[in-house]
């Protein structure tokens, strides 16, 4: 395990043992069989694998080592993949998904029989997800082919290095822990980070940071090459267009995000390598390990949401260990100013807030069991031993394993009657085998763990409206299906720098035409993508509580907090502030837990249920990363005064019991989570040669299965997996629970006559989403008709 700061050259260090070994091995004589893969390098990103290839080939060529290095990713043409199987390179650079495919092949043992080393790059980012679980199982498989396999993990600084050290090596019997060797390189130049000091007024809410465009543009002009990071694809589109709107000098500013067409992405990457770009707007597709050489400024637009993520992104500037990185944070609203300041303090302190590792998920386990069967017959005992040797599954019980095995062989108790779910069967010699060879083919189409956002091709059609053609047309890139589904035909959105109009969805593509609007219907910002980290949330609370921690904030933000102190209350660090006030013909209750949007979303669902029961007539709620606001028809302040509702009762931990269960029963969210688990576990298929299913088609069938399982088999392995996912993912129940127990006796309430300064940002969020498209037109019409009356 090698942990080193960005720019220390850790990737090359990871390859050194392999290069030395390969250089000393005599070349095979003509006619002699090739020796197969010597070193496998696994990165979380396709772009990173491509980049490493570039960086590795240069020294290999200069030293005349004659070692062949090739990438194998989802973008690799099928013909080359086939050739690689017959004639593998000595060093192969690939992704976790490709590894899963390779080991599910009956030739896998032969393919890997010369494998000496596996290098895992950016391991910290791989291990925290289901991808990491699948990868850990793949590693266990490789280790059973090659017991002496050497594993090398490369990572940026993390809070718990021992978690990664454990992950890299085979785990012994339950209760014991094996750790890898550990090299930790400290130091690196302290980055030079500032928060944008704009003359403009920082807005109360919103995520576009439009106010700062002039400042950002000037910063780009003043530097050689600038990397601009944002949190979401839609933000990157907006930022890109805003910058081009003011790009009077026609600086070469490019856009890079995962949804763009791969050829477009490569062009940008190559232009960057050739140093032809002045700025590049990017999402997280670029924030890992890629060496962009001469970047001399990183601009982070929006709050970084976590201190570790910020450190990683800022590491992109300079990328040389002895020179400080230069970075500017551009908060989009006032809470983000506090968040940026907190992240800045944390970075200087060297704090880390990478999320804790979770134990291996059961849906991934089911997928792996089927994958193993695709490679050849297996014994259950042997596979169980292999699986529990991987760190995430070290604590897996035999009972759970058998349940997973049963699921793959029958679909599980409730689905036993359906033949299509019986994918493997036990044979007379005691081994498990595929029931039909075609299942291996289907497995390959469904392998992998990333189903959170099914992607649709974006195809351009020339005609609009009823005459739109739904076939052919150039593909502009891919887009999250969930996003497209939230649009209606005729809505406009930004994509790869164009405003597009949705014409319709057919199969796995959405058809669009070019729209003339300069004001597209932009998706509501999904701040939930990266929830505010627990660590950063705590620092923000500290900033509110403690005047000295606010000293570095810009005056306009400091003043805002001071006014809050006068008009209402500034909660102490461990207190939960709740304000109630009337506005218009409604009454509002605003709480400030700072636990991230997902946890707040869940809290909102549960709170409204409870208020409903207390006859407080709640109408709706809105959640942000920082606060939650509930509104209703009855005077919350008066109800609290008359003790018709008590806040300690309202925010009691017991809401996570029956109320949560009751809500989950009705909620759509759990069904969607189930859909993901069912897809990963192979219960439902996402792709089939020739007829790709869209996410919507999957939803229909998975909803039916979900209902069947809930009533007939509540302990089904996929329901277990779904509940586990919900607890920390979509619903963030774990974090909500921590918050409720922390603030149990520390709720402070302030009844107010009017809105408080702290409540302004969330109040502006209310109805924000309605003021797009037609709603904007309505406001304009209203304004012009007033004029007519006056006239």
């Amino acid at each position: 395990m090698l942990i080193a700061p960005t720019g220390a050259g850790k990737t090359l260090a990871g390859f050194l043992p392999s290069l030395v070994d390969l250089a000393q091995t005599p070349k095979p004589k003509p006619g002699e069989a090739k020796r197969g893969i010597h070193t496998l390098y696994i990165s979380p990103l396709k772009a990173l694998a491509v980049d490493i290839k570039r960086n590795l080939e240069k020294p290999i060529e200069e030293m005349g080592l004659g070692i062949d290095v090739e990438t194998r990713t989802g973008d690799t043409p099928v013909s080359r993949r086939q050739r690689q199987k017959l004639n593998p390179p000595q060093i192969m650079l690939t992704t976790p998904e490709q590894l899963a495919l390779l080991i599910a092949n009956k030739d896998a043992p032969r393919f890997f029989d010369n494998l000496q080393t596996v290098i895992f790059d950016e391991l910290h980012s791989l291990v925290t997800s289901k991808r990491g679980h699948l990868l850990a199982l793949g590693l266990a498989r490789l280790r059973s082919f090659r017991p002496d396999l050497k594993t090398i993990g490369l990572s940026a600084t993390v809070a718990e290095p021992d978690d990664l050290r454990r992950w890299l090596v085979g785990q012994p019997e339950l209760g014991e822990i094996a750790l890898s060797e550990f090299v930790h390189l400290q130091g690196g130049a302290k980055p030079n980070i500032t928060i944008l000091d704009s003359e403009e007024r920082v807005p109360w809410s919103g995520h576009s940071a439009r106010y700062a465009m002039g400042d950002v543009y000037r910063a780009i002009k003043a530097h050689g090459t600038t990397l601009l990071f944002v949190n979401t694809r839609s933000q990157s589109e907006i930022l890109f267009q805003e910058l081009w709107n003011i790009n009077e000098d026609t600086l070469p500013i490019a856009l890079h995000h995962g949804s763009l067409d791969v050829s477009q992405r490569r062009k940008v990457e190559e232009a960057m390598q050739r140093n032809e770009l002045r700025a590049i707007v990017a999402t997280s597709t670029l924030d890992l390990g890629i060496d962009w050489g001469d970047v001399d400024l990183v601009v982070h637009v929006g709050a970084p949401k976590g201190a570790s993520r910020l450190a990683q992104r800022i590491g992109r500037a300079n990328h040389r260990i002895d020179e400080p990185s230069r970075a500017i944070l551009v908060p989009a609203n006032r809470f983000e100013v506090m968040e940026c300041q907190a992240a800045l303090n944390a970075n200087y302190l060297g704090a880390q807030d990478t999320p804790p590792l979770l134990s291996g998920s059961l849906d991934v386990l089911a997928q792996h069991i089927l994958g193993t069967a695709c490679a050849g017959p297996f014994h259950a005992d042997g596979l169980f031993a292999e699986i529990t040797s991987s760190a995430p599954y070290a604590e897996l019980s035999r009972e759970q394993f058998d349940q997973a095995l049963d699921f793959v062989s029958t679909g599980g108790y409730a689905l036993r009657a359906y033949e299509q779910y019986a994918k493997i069967k036990k044979t007379e010699d005691g081994t498990w085998r595929l029931t039909h060879p075609a299942i291996a083919q289907r497995y390959r189409m469904n392998c992998g763990t990333i189903v959170e956002a099914p992607m649709l091709d974006v195809r351009l059609t020339r005609k609009r409206g009823k005459n739109a053609a739904f076939q052919g047309g150039p593909i502009l890139g891919k887009i999250e299906e969930g996003f497209v589904e939230s649009l209606a035909v005729g809505d406009t959105f930004l994509f790869s720098g164009n405003t597009l109009r949705l014409e319709g969805i057919r199969e796995a593509a959405c058809y669009v035409s070019k729209a003339a609007d300069t004001d597209p219907k932009v998706p509501a910002y999904a701040g939930g993508k990266f929830p505010l980290s627990t660590y950063l949330a705590d620092l923000v609370r500290g900033m509110l509580a403690n005047e000295t921690e606010r000293k570095d904030l810009p005056p306009q933000v400091r003043e805002w907090i001071e006014i809050q102190k006068l008009k209402s209350i500034l909660p102490k660090r461990d207190e939960l502030l709740i304000e109630t006030f009337p506005k218009g013909d409604r009454y509002y209750l605003v709480a400030y837990p700072f636990e991230g949007r997902m946890a707040h979303q869940t809290l909102g669902m549960l709170l409204t249920r409870r208020l409903e029961r207390a006859r407080a007539k709640p109408l709706g709620f809105v959640a942000t990363d920082y606060a939650i606001a509930v509104w209703g028809l009855r005077d919350f302040s008066a109800m609290i005064d008359k003790r018709e509702i008590t806040l300690s009762g309202l925010f009691d931990e017991d809401m996570l019991g029956d109320d949560l269960e009751a809500w989950l029963d009705e909620s759509f969210l759990l069904k969607r989570t189930f859909r993901n688990c069912a897809t990963i576990a192979g219960l439902i298929e996402r792709r089939f040669p020739g007829k790709e299913k869209t996410g919507r088609q999957m939803t229909v069938s998975s909803d039916l299965i979900y209902d069947v399982l809930r009533s007939h088999d509540p302990n089904h392995i996929l329901l277990q997996a779904t509940r586990a996912d919900a607890a920390h993912g979509l619903l963030d129940v774990r974090r909500l629970g921590d918050m409720l127990s922390r603030t149990k006796t520390r709720i402070v309430h302030k009844g107010l006559e009017q809105i408080s300064p702290l409540a302004v940002p969330i109040m502006l969020e209310i109805g924000r989403e309605s003021v797009v498209g037609e709603a904007q037109e309505a406001l304009l019409e209203e304004a012009s008709s007033e004029l007519m009356r006056i006239g």
Binding site: P252, S496, K514, A516, L779, L780, S784
Partner: protein, 236 residues
């Protein structure tokens, strides 16, 4: 022959300017039916793709294409005899040379059988290469005077571009910002027609001295309609 609004069934708004009836098209062009004239300003062709031609198409694709496509729609709808492009038609002096072949053809087709007048702008002080049309610094027609950059000294009947006017209103806590036409009855400033051209709020000091503030009116370009909103309703 003057154009009839009823026949065209386009959501353009009629307005009086210096005694002439003009039509504001929500797509950002101005029509003078009496003269069968269509005016667009600040096309900024090849703004985005200028670098693309030299360095690979990683910069916003299609901006010229998008602008011309929109212009073609306007021309098809209004069938004008004369077209004035009110300066900054091309983003820089070489831009007309870099026009992709498809765009050049599209532009030629639009220019065919019409009188086409290029008014020079600060971005394109010289005539475009190999495109034809008439090139001038100002164009006077009746009471109206078309030029790119509004002149600070007071001039009646001036129609200019250059500033890319936009305006914003605030209603019930929500702001809406759009490109707009702005006029005080004496001078009119047109919005930029090109894709990838930003807007400058009419409250900006760059407009100081150009309008009689008490008489300022704006015409917001809505989705399918134009909204007239008085200057005192606007916010920065």
């Amino acid at each position: 022959m003057p154009l009839a609004l009823e026949e065209a069934e386009l959501p353009a708004m009629e307005m009086e300017f210096q005694g002439e009836t003009l039509l504001i098209d929500p797509r950002g062009c101005l029509v003078w039916p009496k003269e069968n004239l269509l005016v667009v300003s600040d096309l900024h062709l090849e703004k985005g793709s200028s670098h693309a031609a030299r360095r690979g198409s990683f910069i916003p694709p299609y901006d010229t294409h998008a602008t011309l496509e929109q212009l073609a729609l306007c021309i098809a709808d209004w069938q004008p005899k004369t077209i004035i492009s009110l300066g900054d038609s091309f983003h820089d002096e070489d831009a007309s040379l870099r026009l992709p072949q498809s765009c050049r053809l599209a532009l030629r087709q639009l220019m065919e059988a019409r009188e086409w007048i290029w008014v020079c702008g600060n971005h394109d002080p010289l005539p475009p290469e190999n495109l034809g049309g008439t090139f001038c610094t100002e164009m006077m027609m009746g009471p109206l005077n078309f030029l790119h950059e509004p002149k600070p000294q007071f001039r009646y009947g001036e129609i200019a571009g250059h500033l890319h006017p936009a305006a914003k209103i605030r209603r019930r806590g929500k702001g809406v910002r759009r490109r707009c036409f702005a006029s005080d009855g004496r001078r009119m400033i047109m919005p930029a027609f090109g894709a990838f051209t930003g807007g400058l709020n009419v409250k900006d000091q760059a407009y100081d001295g150009l309008f009689e503030i008490s008489d300022l009116q704006t015409w917001f370009l809505g989705k399918d309609a134009v909204y007239q909103i008085a200057g005192d309703q606007l916010v920065a």
